[in-house]
């Protein structure tokens, strides 16, 4: 199976079958009868399927390494989100300070009004 080969062996097979594919292509265009072309195309279909398996295996050989990166990216995003949370907290604290002062102002106005009523 193409998936069981190491990178070097897989590339050697890709090169060997790639060269065969290239030769069959040239032979196809050089053939003088439809029958000869059909025979060449029949072999070429098998070579194409083999090269497809090898290319597929080559791409699939990256699957594990890519899967590992998914977690790393998610963790980095988590750390940035945490930092964003800390920044939001600083802003929130400032907002709360404004709200507290606003509440003092409201209470002070209410107290002054009540005092005026009592004195009146």
């Amino acid at each position: 199976m193409p998936g069981t080969f190491d990178d070097q062996t897989r590339q050697a097979l890709l090169d060997a079958f790639g060269a065969l594919h290239q030769n069959l292509q040239q032979a196809y265009w050089a053939a003088t009868s439809i029958e000869a072309q059909d025979r060449i195309r029949g072999i070429e279909d098998l070579v194409y399927d083999t090269l497809t398996d090898l290319n597929r295996a080559d791409i699939q050989s990256h699957d594990d390494a890519l899967s590992q990166l998914i977690n790393g990216l998610a963790q980095a995003k988590g750390k940035i989100d945490e930092l964003q949370g800390q920044i939001d907290l600083i802003i929130h604290n400032l907002k709360v300070a404004g709200e507290v002062i606003e509440a003092i102002k409201t209470a002070s106005t209410a107290a002054a009004t009540a005092l005026a009523q009592l004195q009146g």
């Binding site: 890709l14 990256h62 990216l73 995003k77 920044i87 400032l94």
Partner: protein
């Protein structure tokens, strides 16, 4: 003016200038570089996704062309129609590209001006509330004498600067670590995507691998099957002309599609370089930052001196 009050003002002004020096100005180049990286990610993710889709479509077209030309001999076998890559293979790539996009978006959010705007709004609100207390006479009751309005404004400005400083300190302490930790994974991701895309074969049929090889071979197959279809068909001259015209069109599309994949690989390389630039100190940006800082420092000093002259 009371010496203690002057010292307080001096301290606040120094604080404001110091915070400007080590806070707000230092972030401008990083924001720019984060935006460049975010732009690179947004530019790269769609063509990489499209590369996998293109190969699937071309592979499918090759299967259909083979079916059409061999139908009389082989008939139709549904199980023969298969995708090039499995659903799982594609899902891994979709998830890793989504993860990269999410990482870039988070970086953009955390370095954006939104926090700065929110901070300005919050400190302005505090300042207005304190001025409200002044108007209501609450401050004069609390401190026995009236607090000057410009002192409240200066205190609000100092609070604003302090807020910016705290935000920038959080960013400057955490972000470089996160970014430098991610450099190796981003490089690895770039290498894997470039390897996935692979290379087209040379004229001897050597050196081909990955998506580019598969795409090249699929087009070779499409051309051969198209030629065989023409040879075996009994087409009228107009139809025959159209089918023959498809042959050079396929050859041209093969080259264009390969060039597109090659350009996608180059874009991935630039993305990795853009991430590398996030962790690199930008001297030009730093110089601009220092110039901006000096101008801002002079402005604050002039403002402060103006206040003092007015009081005296």
């Amino acid at each position: 003016m009371h010496p203690a009050s002057a010292r307080r003002r001096n301290a606040m002004t120094c604080l404001a200038v110091w915070c400007l020096a080590f806070g707000g100005c230092a972030v401008a180049p990083l924001t720019q570089r984060v935006n460049q990286f975010g732009g690179a990610v947004s530019t790269v993710v769609p063509p990489v996704t499209h590369a996998y889709e293109t190969i699937e479509e071309t592979y499918y077209d090759g299967q259909v062309a083979g079916l059409v030309v061999n139908y009389d001999k082989n008939g139709f076998k549904p199980e023969k129609i298969q995708p090039f890559l499995s659903r799982e293979d594609l899902l891994i790539r979709t998830r890793v590209l989504d993860g990269l996009q999410a990482y870039a978006n988070a970086l953009r959010t955390v370095t954006s001006d939104k926090a700065s705007d929110a901070l300005d709004a919050a400190t302005t609100s505090v300042g207005q509330s304190v001025l409200g207390l002044q108007e209501e006479g609450v401050l004069s009751k609390a401190f026995a004498k009236n607090v000057p309005e410009d002192a409240i404004s200066l205190a609000t400005a100092a609070l604003n600067t302090l807020g910016h400083f705290l935000v920038e300190r959080k960013r400057s302490r955490r972000l470089p670590t996160i970014i430098s930790e991610m450099q190796e994974p981003v490089e690895r991701l770039g290498d894997l995507l470039i390897a996935d895309i692979g290379s087209a074969p040379d004229t001897q049929g050597h050196g081909g691998k990955g998506l580019r090889n598969q795409l090249w071979l699929a087009y070779d197959k499409l051309v051969l099957d198209q030629d065989a279809f023409i040879a075996h068909s009994t087409l009228d001259p107009i139809q025959r002309r159209q089918e023959i015209a498809n042959l050079p069109a396929l050859v041209r599309t093969q080259r264009e599609a390969d060039l597109t994949l090659q350009a996608t690989q180059e874009a991935v390389r630039k993305l990795v370089a853009a991430h590398q630039a996030l962790a690199t100190k930008d001297d030009t940006g730093m110089r601009d930052g220092i110039a901006a800082l000096m101008a801002e420092g002079k402005r604050v000093a002039a403002y402060y001196q103006g206040l003092q002259a007015h009081k005296e």
